[in-house]
Subunit: 307 residues, 2 copies
Protein backbone atom coordinates (compact mmCIF):
# COMPACT_ATOMS: atom_id res chain seq x y z
CA UNK A 1 0.00 0.00 0.00
CA UNK A 2 1.49 3.30 -1.08
CA UNK A 3 -1.46 5.61 -0.58
CA UNK A 4 -4.26 5.95 1.92
CA UNK A 5 -7.34 8.13 2.15
CA UNK A 6 -8.64 8.74 5.66
CA UNK A 7 -11.46 10.43 7.52
CA UNK A 8 -10.20 12.69 10.32
CA UNK A 9 -13.05 13.21 12.80
CA UNK A 10 -14.06 16.32 14.67
CA UNK A 11 -14.13 16.03 18.46
CA UNK A 12 -15.78 17.67 21.45
CA UNK A 13 -13.44 18.38 24.37
CA UNK A 14 -14.16 19.90 27.80
CA UNK A 15 -17.39 17.93 28.16
CA UNK A 16 -19.01 20.03 30.92
CA UNK A 17 -17.90 18.49 34.26
CA UNK A 18 -15.12 16.81 32.27
CA UNK A 19 -13.43 20.18 31.73
CA UNK A 20 -9.84 19.57 30.56
CA UNK A 21 -10.09 15.78 30.96
CA UNK A 22 -12.96 14.39 28.86
CA UNK A 23 -13.63 14.48 25.13
CA UNK A 24 -15.55 12.51 22.53
CA UNK A 25 -15.16 11.66 18.86
CA UNK A 26 -17.79 12.51 16.23
CA UNK A 27 -18.79 10.16 13.46
CA UNK A 28 -20.10 12.31 10.65
CA UNK A 29 -18.15 15.55 10.94
CA UNK A 30 -14.55 15.62 9.86
CA UNK A 31 -11.85 16.25 7.29
CA UNK A 32 -10.34 13.98 4.68
CA UNK A 33 -6.68 13.44 4.09
CA UNK A 34 -4.72 11.58 1.44
CA UNK A 35 -1.26 10.38 2.36
CA UNK A 36 1.16 8.73 -0.02
CA UNK A 37 4.63 7.36 0.28
CA UNK A 38 7.39 9.31 -1.43
CA UNK A 39 11.02 8.46 -2.16
CA UNK A 40 12.03 11.76 -0.70
CA UNK A 41 12.54 11.78 3.07
CA UNK A 42 10.38 14.03 5.23
CA UNK A 43 6.87 15.31 4.75
CA UNK A 44 5.49 17.58 2.06
CA UNK A 45 2.01 19.08 1.99
CA UNK A 46 1.01 19.10 -1.65
CA UNK A 47 -2.56 20.37 -1.48
CA UNK A 48 -4.95 21.96 1.01
CA UNK A 49 -8.60 22.58 0.23
CA UNK A 50 -11.34 24.05 2.37
CA UNK A 51 -9.13 26.32 4.46
CA UNK A 52 -6.40 28.89 4.09
CA UNK A 53 -3.62 27.06 5.89
CA UNK A 54 0.15 27.13 5.34
CA UNK A 55 1.71 24.49 3.07
CA UNK A 56 5.05 24.78 4.85
CA UNK A 57 5.49 21.62 6.90
CA UNK A 58 6.85 23.35 10.00
CA UNK A 59 3.99 25.87 10.09
CA UNK A 60 1.21 23.37 9.53
CA UNK A 61 -0.36 21.33 12.35
CA UNK A 62 -0.40 18.13 10.27
CA UNK A 63 3.12 18.86 9.09
CA UNK A 64 4.49 19.27 12.60
CA UNK A 65 2.65 16.22 13.98
CA UNK A 66 3.71 14.10 11.01
CA UNK A 67 7.33 15.20 11.28
CA UNK A 68 7.36 14.42 15.01
CA UNK A 69 6.37 10.85 14.12
CA UNK A 70 8.82 10.62 11.22
CA UNK A 71 11.69 11.84 13.38
CA UNK A 72 10.85 9.08 15.84
CA UNK A 73 10.62 6.40 13.13
CA UNK A 74 13.74 7.45 11.20
CA UNK A 75 12.70 6.07 7.79
CA UNK A 76 14.58 5.99 4.48
CA UNK A 77 11.61 7.49 2.65
CA UNK A 78 8.98 10.14 3.20
CA UNK A 79 5.36 11.13 2.60
CA UNK A 80 3.19 13.58 0.75
CA UNK A 81 -0.12 14.67 2.15
CA UNK A 82 -3.25 16.33 0.85
CA UNK A 83 -5.53 17.94 3.42
CA UNK A 84 -9.19 18.50 2.61
CA UNK A 85 -10.59 20.53 5.49
CA UNK A 86 -14.28 20.46 6.30
CA UNK A 87 -14.04 21.37 9.97
CA UNK A 88 -13.82 25.14 10.24
CA UNK A 89 -10.79 26.52 12.04
CA UNK A 90 -11.65 28.10 15.38
CA UNK A 91 -15.01 26.32 15.62
CA UNK A 92 -14.17 24.56 18.88
CA UNK A 93 -14.68 21.03 17.57
CA UNK A 94 -11.06 20.07 17.15
CA UNK A 95 -10.12 21.25 13.68
CA UNK A 96 -6.38 21.20 14.39
CA UNK A 97 -6.68 17.92 16.28
CA UNK A 98 -8.31 16.25 13.28
CA UNK A 99 -5.31 17.16 11.12
CA UNK A 100 -2.78 16.17 13.77
CA UNK A 101 -4.55 12.88 14.49
CA UNK A 102 -5.14 12.09 10.82
CA UNK A 103 -1.56 12.43 9.70
CA UNK A 104 -0.08 10.22 12.43
CA UNK A 105 -2.71 7.49 12.06
CA UNK A 106 -2.44 7.62 8.26
CA UNK A 107 1.35 7.30 8.21
CA UNK A 108 1.20 4.52 10.78
CA UNK A 109 -1.36 2.65 8.66
CA UNK A 110 0.79 3.00 5.52
CA UNK A 111 3.69 1.49 7.46
CA UNK A 112 1.62 -1.50 8.63
CA UNK A 113 0.91 -0.08 12.09
CA UNK A 114 4.27 -0.36 13.83
CA UNK A 115 2.84 1.69 16.70
CA UNK A 116 -0.36 1.19 18.70
CA UNK A 117 -2.84 4.01 18.28
CA UNK A 118 -2.29 5.12 21.88
CA UNK A 119 1.40 5.54 21.16
CA UNK A 120 0.59 8.00 18.39
CA UNK A 121 -1.02 10.52 20.73
CA UNK A 122 2.17 12.33 21.83
CA UNK A 123 3.14 12.99 18.19
CA UNK A 124 -0.29 14.42 17.42
CA UNK A 125 0.05 16.58 20.55
CA UNK A 126 3.04 18.28 18.87
CA UNK A 127 0.59 19.51 16.26
CA UNK A 128 -1.75 20.77 18.98
CA UNK A 129 1.17 22.63 20.53
CA UNK A 130 1.73 24.47 17.25
CA UNK A 131 -1.98 25.35 17.08
CA UNK A 132 -2.56 26.45 20.66
CA UNK A 133 0.76 26.74 22.46
CA UNK A 134 -0.07 23.93 24.87
CA UNK A 135 0.29 20.17 24.81
CA UNK A 136 -3.23 18.91 25.26
CA UNK A 137 -4.70 15.52 24.42
CA UNK A 138 -8.41 15.98 24.94
CA UNK A 139 -9.09 16.45 21.21
CA UNK A 140 -6.34 14.37 19.58
CA UNK A 141 -6.88 11.34 21.83
CA UNK A 142 -10.60 10.97 20.98
CA UNK A 143 -9.80 11.68 17.30
CA UNK A 144 -7.21 8.87 17.29
CA UNK A 145 -8.95 6.33 19.53
CA UNK A 146 -12.66 7.14 19.15
CA UNK A 147 -15.37 6.98 21.81
CA UNK A 148 -15.15 8.97 25.01
CA UNK A 149 -11.64 9.62 26.21
CA UNK A 150 -10.67 10.48 29.76
CA UNK A 151 -7.24 12.06 30.07
CA UNK A 152 -6.45 10.84 33.58
CA UNK A 153 -2.97 12.26 33.70
CA UNK A 154 -0.45 14.14 31.57
CA UNK A 155 2.65 13.22 33.55
CA UNK A 156 2.84 10.44 32.57
CA UNK A 157 0.24 10.62 29.82
CA UNK A 158 -2.61 8.20 30.49
CA UNK A 159 -5.79 8.17 28.47
CA UNK A 160 -8.72 5.86 29.10
CA UNK A 161 -11.18 4.98 26.37
CA UNK A 162 -14.82 4.49 27.28
CA UNK A 163 -17.19 3.07 24.69
CA UNK A 164 -20.15 5.30 23.92
CA UNK A 165 -23.66 4.19 24.93
CA UNK A 166 -25.15 3.02 21.64
CA UNK A 167 -28.05 5.47 21.39
CA UNK A 168 -26.05 8.55 22.20
CA UNK A 169 -26.11 11.36 19.64
CA UNK A 170 -24.43 14.72 19.58
CA UNK A 171 -25.87 17.96 18.25
CA UNK A 172 -23.41 20.75 17.51
CA UNK A 173 -24.15 24.34 16.67
CA UNK A 174 -21.29 26.48 15.52
CA UNK A 175 -22.13 30.17 15.70
CA UNK A 176 -19.74 32.03 13.42
CA UNK A 177 -18.10 34.21 15.99
CA UNK A 178 -14.51 34.20 17.15
CA UNK A 179 -13.59 32.98 20.62
CA UNK A 180 -9.84 33.13 21.15
CA UNK A 181 -8.61 30.09 23.07
CA UNK A 182 -6.20 32.37 24.91
CA UNK A 183 -9.07 34.59 26.10
CA UNK A 184 -11.26 31.59 26.96
CA UNK A 185 -8.41 30.41 29.16
CA UNK A 186 -7.47 33.75 30.67
CA UNK A 187 -10.98 34.51 31.92
CA UNK A 188 -10.97 31.40 34.09
CA UNK A 189 -10.03 31.99 37.72
CA UNK A 190 -6.69 30.55 38.84
CA UNK A 191 -8.32 29.28 42.02
CA UNK A 192 -11.79 27.88 42.56
CA UNK A 193 -13.79 27.23 45.73
CA UNK A 194 -13.16 23.74 47.13
CA UNK A 195 -16.91 23.25 47.31
CA UNK A 196 -17.27 23.97 43.58
CA UNK A 197 -14.47 21.57 42.78
CA UNK A 198 -16.18 18.82 44.80
CA UNK A 199 -19.44 19.45 42.92
CA UNK A 200 -17.53 19.12 39.66
CA UNK A 201 -15.81 15.85 40.53
CA UNK A 202 -19.03 14.38 41.92
CA UNK A 203 -20.60 15.09 38.55
CA UNK A 204 -17.60 13.76 36.63
CA UNK A 205 -17.85 10.55 38.65
CA UNK A 206 -21.54 10.38 37.75
CA UNK A 207 -20.81 10.98 34.07
CA UNK A 208 -18.17 8.23 33.89
CA UNK A 209 -20.52 5.92 35.77
CA UNK A 210 -23.37 6.75 33.38
CA UNK A 211 -21.18 5.95 30.37
CA UNK A 212 -20.30 2.49 31.71
CA UNK A 213 -23.85 1.67 32.77
CA UNK A 214 -25.51 3.31 29.74
CA UNK A 215 -27.70 5.25 32.16
CA UNK A 216 -28.87 8.17 30.05
CA UNK A 217 -30.67 9.86 32.95
CA UNK A 218 -27.51 9.83 35.01
CA UNK A 219 -25.53 11.20 32.06
CA UNK A 220 -28.00 14.06 31.84
CA UNK A 221 -27.94 14.87 35.54
CA UNK A 222 -24.14 14.76 35.55
CA UNK A 223 -23.56 16.97 32.51
CA UNK A 224 -23.03 20.16 34.47
CA UNK A 225 -20.04 22.45 34.54
CA UNK A 226 -19.70 24.52 37.69
CA UNK A 227 -16.21 25.68 36.80
CA UNK A 228 -15.61 26.92 33.24
CA UNK A 229 -19.06 27.42 31.74
CA UNK A 230 -20.15 30.22 34.10
CA UNK A 231 -17.24 32.31 32.77
CA UNK A 232 -16.90 31.14 29.19
CA UNK A 233 -20.59 31.32 28.32
CA UNK A 234 -20.24 35.11 28.37
CA UNK A 235 -18.05 34.86 25.27
CA UNK A 236 -20.84 33.14 23.32
CA UNK A 237 -23.90 35.29 22.48
CA UNK A 238 -27.21 33.45 23.08
CA UNK A 239 -25.53 30.63 25.03
CA UNK A 240 -28.14 30.64 27.81
CA UNK A 241 -31.01 30.63 25.31
CA UNK A 242 -29.37 27.88 23.30
CA UNK A 243 -28.87 25.70 26.37
CA UNK A 244 -32.42 26.31 27.55
CA UNK A 245 -33.72 25.38 24.11
CA UNK A 246 -31.60 22.21 23.94
CA UNK A 247 -32.81 20.99 27.34
CA UNK A 248 -36.43 21.87 26.54
CA UNK A 249 -36.14 19.89 23.32
CA UNK A 250 -35.05 16.77 25.14
CA UNK A 251 -31.27 16.98 25.28
CA UNK A 252 -29.67 15.10 28.17
CA UNK A 253 -27.19 17.91 28.65
CA UNK A 254 -25.66 20.84 26.85
CA UNK A 255 -22.47 22.85 27.18
CA UNK A 256 -19.58 24.54 25.43
CA UNK A 257 -17.57 22.42 23.01
CA UNK A 258 -13.87 22.87 23.66
CA UNK A 259 -13.37 26.53 24.45
CA UNK A 260 -16.21 27.50 22.14
CA UNK A 261 -17.84 29.03 20.23
CA UNK A 262 -19.52 25.72 19.29
CA UNK A 263 -22.17 24.42 21.67
CA UNK A 264 -22.74 20.69 22.02
CA UNK A 265 -25.74 18.77 23.30
CA UNK A 266 -26.04 15.06 23.98
CA UNK A 267 -29.32 13.28 23.32
CA UNK A 268 -30.68 9.77 23.46
CA UNK A 269 -31.61 8.77 19.94
CA UNK A 270 -31.34 10.47 16.57
CA UNK A 271 -34.82 11.97 16.67
CA UNK A 272 -34.14 13.84 19.89
CA UNK A 273 -30.81 15.05 18.56
CA UNK A 274 -32.55 16.40 15.44
CA UNK A 275 -35.20 18.16 17.52
CA UNK A 276 -32.42 19.74 19.53
CA UNK A 277 -30.78 20.87 16.30
CA UNK A 278 -34.03 22.48 15.12
CA UNK A 279 -34.40 24.32 18.40
CA UNK A 280 -30.83 25.59 18.30
CA UNK A 281 -31.31 26.86 14.76
CA UNK A 282 -34.34 28.85 15.89
CA UNK A 283 -32.30 30.55 18.60
CA UNK A 284 -29.61 31.79 16.24
CA UNK A 285 -31.80 32.47 13.21
CA UNK A 286 -33.24 35.39 15.20
CA UNK A 287 -29.79 36.96 15.39
CA UNK A 288 -27.31 38.36 12.89
CA UNK A 289 -24.97 35.50 13.64
CA UNK A 290 -24.49 32.87 10.95
CA UNK A 291 -24.13 29.29 12.08
CA UNK A 292 -23.71 25.64 11.14
CA UNK A 293 -25.59 22.81 12.79
CA UNK A 294 -24.53 19.18 12.82
CA UNK A 295 -25.96 15.97 14.23
CA UNK A 296 -23.67 12.99 14.68
CA UNK A 297 -23.33 9.74 16.55
CA UNK A 298 -20.32 9.30 18.74
CA UNK A 299 -17.69 7.47 16.68
CA UNK A 300 -16.10 4.57 18.49
CA UNK A 301 -13.30 4.16 15.95
CA UNK A 302 -11.45 7.46 15.66
CA UNK A 303 -9.62 8.16 12.39
CA UNK A 304 -11.04 5.84 9.73
CA UNK A 305 -9.42 4.48 6.57
CA UNK A 306 -11.65 5.33 3.60
CA UNK A 307 -9.60 3.69 0.81
CA UNK B 1 -40.65 -11.31 63.03
CA UNK B 2 -40.38 -9.26 66.20
CA UNK B 3 -36.62 -9.10 66.63
CA UNK B 4 -33.62 -8.80 64.37
CA UNK B 5 -29.89 -8.97 64.92
CA UNK B 6 -27.81 -7.11 62.37
CA UNK B 7 -24.21 -6.42 61.43
CA UNK B 8 -23.51 -2.70 60.97
CA UNK B 9 -20.40 -2.32 58.80
CA UNK B 10 -17.56 0.13 59.11
CA UNK B 11 -16.88 2.28 56.04
CA UNK B 12 -14.07 4.25 54.46
CA UNK B 13 -15.05 7.70 53.16
CA UNK B 14 -12.98 10.32 51.34
CA UNK B 15 -11.25 7.72 49.19
CA UNK B 16 -8.25 9.83 48.10
CA UNK B 17 -9.29 11.57 44.83
CA UNK B 18 -12.87 10.78 45.88
CA UNK B 19 -12.66 13.32 48.69
CA UNK B 20 -16.17 14.10 49.93
CA UNK B 21 -17.84 11.98 47.23
CA UNK B 22 -16.60 8.37 47.37
CA UNK B 23 -16.75 5.75 50.13
CA UNK B 24 -16.71 1.98 50.49
CA UNK B 25 -18.21 -0.59 52.82
CA UNK B 26 -16.12 -3.07 54.82
CA UNK B 27 -17.07 -6.70 55.27
CA UNK B 28 -15.43 -7.85 58.47
CA UNK B 29 -15.31 -4.75 60.64
CA UNK B 30 -18.50 -3.52 62.23
CA UNK B 31 -20.92 -3.33 65.15
CA UNK B 32 -23.84 -5.51 66.03
CA UNK B 33 -27.29 -4.30 66.89
CA UNK B 34 -30.41 -6.02 68.13
CA UNK B 35 -33.75 -4.37 67.39
CA UNK B 36 -37.07 -5.59 68.70
CA UNK B 37 -40.62 -4.39 68.31
CA UNK B 38 -42.24 -2.89 71.37
CA UNK B 39 -45.83 -1.96 72.17
CA UNK B 40 -44.68 1.43 73.29
CA UNK B 41 -44.34 4.03 70.55
CA UNK B 42 -40.97 5.59 69.84
CA UNK B 43 -37.46 4.22 70.29
CA UNK B 44 -35.65 3.17 73.46
CA UNK B 45 -32.01 2.23 73.69
CA UNK B 46 -31.89 -0.53 76.29
CA UNK B 47 -28.24 -1.51 76.21
CA UNK B 48 -24.96 -0.28 74.81
CA UNK B 49 -21.74 -2.30 75.07
CA UNK B 50 -18.27 -1.52 73.78
CA UNK B 51 -18.53 2.25 74.05
CA UNK B 52 -19.51 4.96 76.47
CA UNK B 53 -22.43 6.44 74.56
CA UNK B 54 -25.65 8.10 75.79
CA UNK B 55 -28.73 5.92 76.18
CA UNK B 56 -31.01 8.94 75.66
CA UNK B 57 -32.61 8.57 72.26
CA UNK B 58 -32.22 12.22 71.26
CA UNK B 59 -28.52 12.27 72.18
CA UNK B 60 -27.62 9.02 70.48
CA UNK B 61 -26.80 8.74 66.77
CA UNK B 62 -28.83 5.54 66.36
CA UNK B 63 -31.63 7.08 68.41
CA UNK B 64 -31.84 10.20 66.28
CA UNK B 65 -31.63 8.30 62.98
CA UNK B 66 -34.19 5.76 64.14
CA UNK B 67 -36.61 8.46 65.36
CA UNK B 68 -36.27 10.32 62.04
CA UNK B 69 -37.47 7.15 60.31
CA UNK B 70 -40.22 6.48 62.87
CA UNK B 71 -41.53 10.04 62.57
CA UNK B 72 -41.77 9.49 58.82
CA UNK B 73 -43.52 6.12 59.16
CA UNK B 74 -45.95 7.16 61.93
CA UNK B 75 -46.49 3.69 63.47
CA UNK B 76 -48.73 2.56 66.31
CA UNK B 77 -45.86 0.77 68.01
CA UNK B 78 -42.19 1.30 68.68
CA UNK B 79 -38.79 -0.37 69.01
CA UNK B 80 -36.08 -1.19 71.51
CA UNK B 81 -32.49 -1.38 70.42
CA UNK B 82 -29.28 -2.81 71.82
CA UNK B 83 -26.05 -1.47 70.39
CA UNK B 84 -22.88 -3.52 70.61
CA UNK B 85 -20.10 -1.27 69.39
CA UNK B 86 -16.92 -2.73 68.00
CA UNK B 87 -15.90 0.21 65.83
CA UNK B 88 -14.08 2.72 67.99
CA UNK B 89 -15.51 6.21 68.10
CA UNK B 90 -13.29 8.77 66.36
CA UNK B 91 -11.39 6.14 64.41
CA UNK B 92 -12.33 7.53 61.00
CA UNK B 93 -14.00 4.40 59.70
CA UNK B 94 -17.61 5.43 60.16
CA UNK B 95 -18.48 4.48 63.73
CA UNK B 96 -21.46 6.82 63.93
CA UNK B 97 -22.54 5.91 60.39
CA UNK B 98 -22.64 2.22 61.32
CA UNK B 99 -25.10 2.97 64.12
CA UNK B 100 -27.19 5.33 62.01
CA UNK B 101 -27.28 2.93 59.07
CA UNK B 102 -27.93 -0.11 61.24
CA UNK B 103 -30.95 1.24 63.01
CA UNK B 104 -32.79 2.38 59.90
CA UNK B 105 -32.08 -0.81 57.94
CA UNK B 106 -33.01 -2.94 60.97
CA UNK B 107 -36.34 -1.19 61.59
CA UNK B 108 -37.15 -1.32 57.88
CA UNK B 109 -36.40 -5.07 57.82
CA UNK B 110 -38.64 -5.69 60.83
CA UNK B 111 -41.45 -3.89 59.02
CA UNK B 112 -41.04 -6.00 55.88
CA UNK B 113 -39.01 -3.39 53.98
CA UNK B 114 -41.62 -0.72 53.16
CA UNK B 115 -38.77 1.53 51.95
CA UNK B 116 -35.98 0.81 49.48
CA UNK B 117 -32.54 0.93 51.04
CA UNK B 118 -31.69 4.10 49.10
CA UNK B 119 -34.70 5.81 50.66
CA UNK B 120 -33.29 5.14 54.13
CA UNK B 121 -30.19 7.23 53.58
CA UNK B 122 -31.68 10.65 54.51
CA UNK B 123 -32.87 9.28 57.89
CA UNK B 124 -29.43 7.87 58.66
CA UNK B 125 -27.98 11.25 57.70
CA UNK B 126 -29.91 12.76 60.61
CA UNK B 127 -27.75 10.61 62.87
CA UNK B 128 -24.63 11.82 61.11
CA UNK B 129 -25.76 15.40 61.67
CA UNK B 130 -25.93 14.73 65.41
CA UNK B 131 -22.43 13.22 65.33
CA UNK B 132 -20.66 15.77 63.19
CA UNK B 133 -22.90 18.79 62.67
CA UNK B 134 -23.18 18.20 58.94
CA UNK B 135 -25.44 16.13 56.72
CA UNK B 136 -23.10 13.85 54.89
CA UNK B 137 -23.79 10.58 53.13
CA UNK B 138 -20.36 9.25 52.27
CA UNK B 139 -20.31 6.85 55.24
CA UNK B 140 -24.00 6.05 55.76
CA UNK B 141 -24.67 5.37 52.08
CA UNK B 142 -21.94 2.70 51.74
CA UNK B 143 -22.98 1.25 55.12
CA UNK B 144 -26.58 0.92 53.91
CA UNK B 145 -26.00 -0.08 50.29
CA UNK B 146 -22.59 -1.77 50.33
CA UNK B 147 -19.89 -1.61 47.66
CA UNK B 148 -18.39 1.64 46.50
CA UNK B 149 -20.73 4.60 46.71
CA UNK B 150 -20.37 7.80 44.74
CA UNK B 151 -22.32 10.71 46.18
CA UNK B 152 -22.90 12.59 42.92
CA UNK B 153 -25.04 15.29 44.42
CA UNK B 154 -26.60 16.40 47.70
CA UNK B 155 -29.24 18.66 46.25
CA UNK B 156 -31.06 16.52 45.33
CA UNK B 157 -29.34 13.59 46.99
CA UNK B 158 -28.10 11.10 44.42
CA UNK B 159 -25.87 8.19 45.28
CA UNK B 160 -24.52 5.68 42.77
CA UNK B 161 -23.48 2.20 43.80
CA UNK B 162 -20.53 0.58 42.08
CA UNK B 163 -19.82 -3.08 42.69
CA UNK B 164 -16.37 -3.78 44.04
CA UNK B 165 -13.83 -5.61 41.88
CA UNK B 166 -13.84 -9.11 43.35
CA UNK B 167 -10.21 -9.35 44.48
CA UNK B 168 -10.11 -5.99 46.17
CA UNK B 169 -9.12 -5.95 49.84
CA UNK B 170 -8.79 -3.13 52.30
CA UNK B 171 -6.18 -2.80 55.01
CA UNK B 172 -6.91 -0.33 57.81
CA UNK B 173 -4.59 0.86 60.52
CA UNK B 174 -6.12 2.92 63.31
CA UNK B 175 -3.45 4.75 65.27
CA UNK B 176 -4.93 5.67 68.65
CA UNK B 177 -4.66 9.40 68.37
CA UNK B 178 -7.40 11.99 68.20
CA UNK B 179 -8.12 13.89 65.00
CA UNK B 180 -11.02 16.25 65.45
CA UNK B 181 -13.24 16.30 62.37
CA UNK B 182 -13.69 20.03 62.85
CA UNK B 183 -9.92 20.58 62.76
CA UNK B 184 -9.49 18.21 59.80
CA UNK B 185 -12.02 20.35 57.97
CA UNK B 186 -10.77 23.75 59.09
CA UNK B 187 -7.20 23.14 57.91
CA UNK B 188 -8.38 22.67 54.33
CA UNK B 189 -8.13 25.75 52.13
CA UNK B 190 -11.42 27.32 51.05
CA UNK B 191 -10.09 27.68 47.54
CA UNK B 192 -7.81 25.42 45.56
CA UNK B 193 -5.85 25.96 42.36
CA UNK B 194 -7.90 25.08 39.27
CA UNK B 195 -4.98 22.96 38.08
CA UNK B 196 -5.08 20.89 41.27
CA UNK B 197 -8.83 20.45 40.96
CA UNK B 198 -8.42 19.18 37.38
CA UNK B 199 -5.77 16.70 38.52
CA UNK B 200 -8.18 15.48 41.19
CA UNK B 201 -11.14 14.97 38.87
CA UNK B 202 -8.94 13.30 36.24
CA UNK B 203 -7.95 10.81 38.92
CA UNK B 204 -11.52 10.40 40.16
CA UNK B 205 -12.57 9.63 36.60
CA UNK B 206 -9.78 7.05 36.42
CA UNK B 207 -10.82 5.51 39.74
CA UNK B 208 -14.47 5.15 38.70
CA UNK B 209 -13.33 3.72 35.37
CA UNK B 210 -11.02 1.27 37.13
CA UNK B 211 -13.87 0.06 39.35
CA UNK B 212 -16.12 -0.69 36.37
CA UNK B 213 -13.38 -2.36 34.34
CA UNK B 214 -11.78 -4.13 37.33
CA UNK B 215 -8.46 -2.61 36.25
CA UNK B 216 -6.40 -2.81 39.42
CA UNK B 217 -3.43 -0.98 37.90
CA UNK B 218 -5.66 1.94 36.95
CA UNK B 219 -7.19 1.95 40.43
CA UNK B 220 -3.72 2.21 41.89
CA UNK B 221 -2.58 5.01 39.58
CA UNK B 222 -5.79 6.93 40.26
CA UNK B 223 -5.75 6.66 44.06
CA UNK B 224 -4.12 10.03 44.64
CA UNK B 225 -5.41 12.97 46.62
CA UNK B 226 -3.98 16.31 45.58
CA UNK B 227 -6.47 18.26 47.68
CA UNK B 228 -7.04 17.10 51.28
CA UNK B 229 -4.22 14.67 52.03
CA UNK B 230 -1.37 17.21 51.74
CA UNK B 231 -2.98 19.14 54.64
CA UNK B 232 -4.57 16.39 56.69
CA UNK B 233 -1.60 14.07 56.73
CA UNK B 234 0.11 16.49 59.09
CA UNK B 235 -2.48 15.58 61.74
CA UNK B 236 -1.45 11.90 61.58
CA UNK B 237 2.03 11.07 62.92
CA UNK B 238 3.96 8.65 60.67
CA UNK B 239 1.49 9.05 57.78
CA UNK B 240 4.23 9.41 55.14
CA UNK B 241 6.10 6.38 56.47
CA UNK B 242 2.89 4.37 56.63
CA UNK B 243 1.96 5.23 53.05
CA UNK B 244 5.47 4.49 51.82
CA UNK B 245 5.38 1.13 53.58
CA UNK B 246 1.94 0.26 52.17
CA UNK B 247 3.00 1.02 48.60
CA UNK B 248 6.32 -0.83 49.01
CA UNK B 249 4.40 -3.84 50.30
CA UNK B 250 2.23 -3.99 47.21
CA UNK B 251 -0.79 -1.81 48.00
CA UNK B 252 -2.50 -0.31 44.96
CA UNK B 253 -3.01 2.93 46.84
CA UNK B 254 -3.12 4.35 50.32
CA UNK B 255 -4.65 7.38 51.97
CA UNK B 256 -6.53 8.80 54.92
CA UNK B 257 -9.79 7.10 55.85
CA UNK B 258 -12.51 9.67 56.40
CA UNK B 259 -10.87 12.59 58.16
CA UNK B 260 -8.46 10.24 59.94
CA UNK B 261 -6.71 9.12 62.00
CA UNK B 262 -7.21 5.72 60.33
CA UNK B 263 -5.21 5.05 57.19
CA UNK B 264 -6.59 2.77 54.48
CA UNK B 265 -4.84 0.87 51.73
CA UNK B 266 -6.39 -1.05 48.85
CA UNK B 267 -4.72 -4.21 47.59
CA UNK B 268 -5.39 -6.89 45.03
CA UNK B 269 -5.82 -10.13 46.91
CA UNK B 270 -5.84 -11.09 50.57
CA UNK B 271 -2.16 -11.96 50.71
CA UNK B 272 -1.10 -8.49 49.56
CA UNK B 273 -3.52 -6.87 51.99
CA UNK B 274 -1.99 -8.90 54.84
CA UNK B 275 1.54 -7.96 53.81
CA UNK B 276 0.46 -4.34 53.83
CA UNK B 277 -0.98 -4.83 57.32
CA UNK B 278 2.32 -6.31 58.54
CA UNK B 279 4.25 -3.37 57.12
CA UNK B 280 1.92 -0.83 58.71
CA UNK B 281 2.27 -2.53 62.09
CA UNK B 282 6.05 -2.23 61.84
CA UNK B 283 5.78 1.51 61.24
CA UNK B 284 3.71 2.17 64.36
CA UNK B 285 5.30 -0.45 66.64
CA UNK B 286 8.40 1.75 66.63
CA UNK B 287 6.38 4.59 68.15
CA UNK B 288 4.54 5.16 71.42
CA UNK B 289 1.25 5.16 69.56
CA UNK B 290 -1.03 2.18 70.08
CA UNK B 291 -2.98 0.96 67.08
CA UNK B 292 -5.40 -1.56 65.61
CA UNK B 293 -4.98 -3.17 62.23
CA UNK B 294 -7.75 -4.75 60.16
CA UNK B 295 -7.95 -6.51 56.83
CA UNK B 296 -11.32 -6.79 55.11
CA UNK B 297 -12.89 -7.40 51.76
CA UNK B 298 -15.18 -4.72 50.42
CA UNK B 299 -18.73 -5.71 51.41
CA UNK B 300 -21.20 -5.50 48.55
CA UNK B 301 -24.24 -5.83 50.78
CA UNK B 302 -24.12 -3.11 53.42
CA UNK B 303 -25.92 -3.78 56.71
CA UNK B 304 -26.49 -7.54 57.00
CA UNK B 305 -29.17 -9.48 58.89
CA UNK B 306 -27.46 -11.97 61.22
CA UNK B 307 -30.54 -13.60 62.73
Amino acid sequence: MNQIKIFCPATVANLSCGFDVLGLCLESIGDEMIIRKSNEKGLRITNITGADLPLETNKNVAGVAGMALLNHLDLEFGFEIEIHKKIKAGSGIGSSAASAAGVVVGINELLGNPLHRKELIPFAMEGEFLASGSYHADNVAPAILGGFILVRSYDPLEVIKIKSPKDLYVTIIHPHIEVKTSEARSILPKEIPLKTAITQWGNLGGLISGLYTEDYGLLGRSLQDAVAEPYRKNLIPEFDNAKKSALENGALGCGISGSGPSIYALSKGLENAKNVADGLKKVYIKTEIRFDVYVSKVCDKGVIKLQ
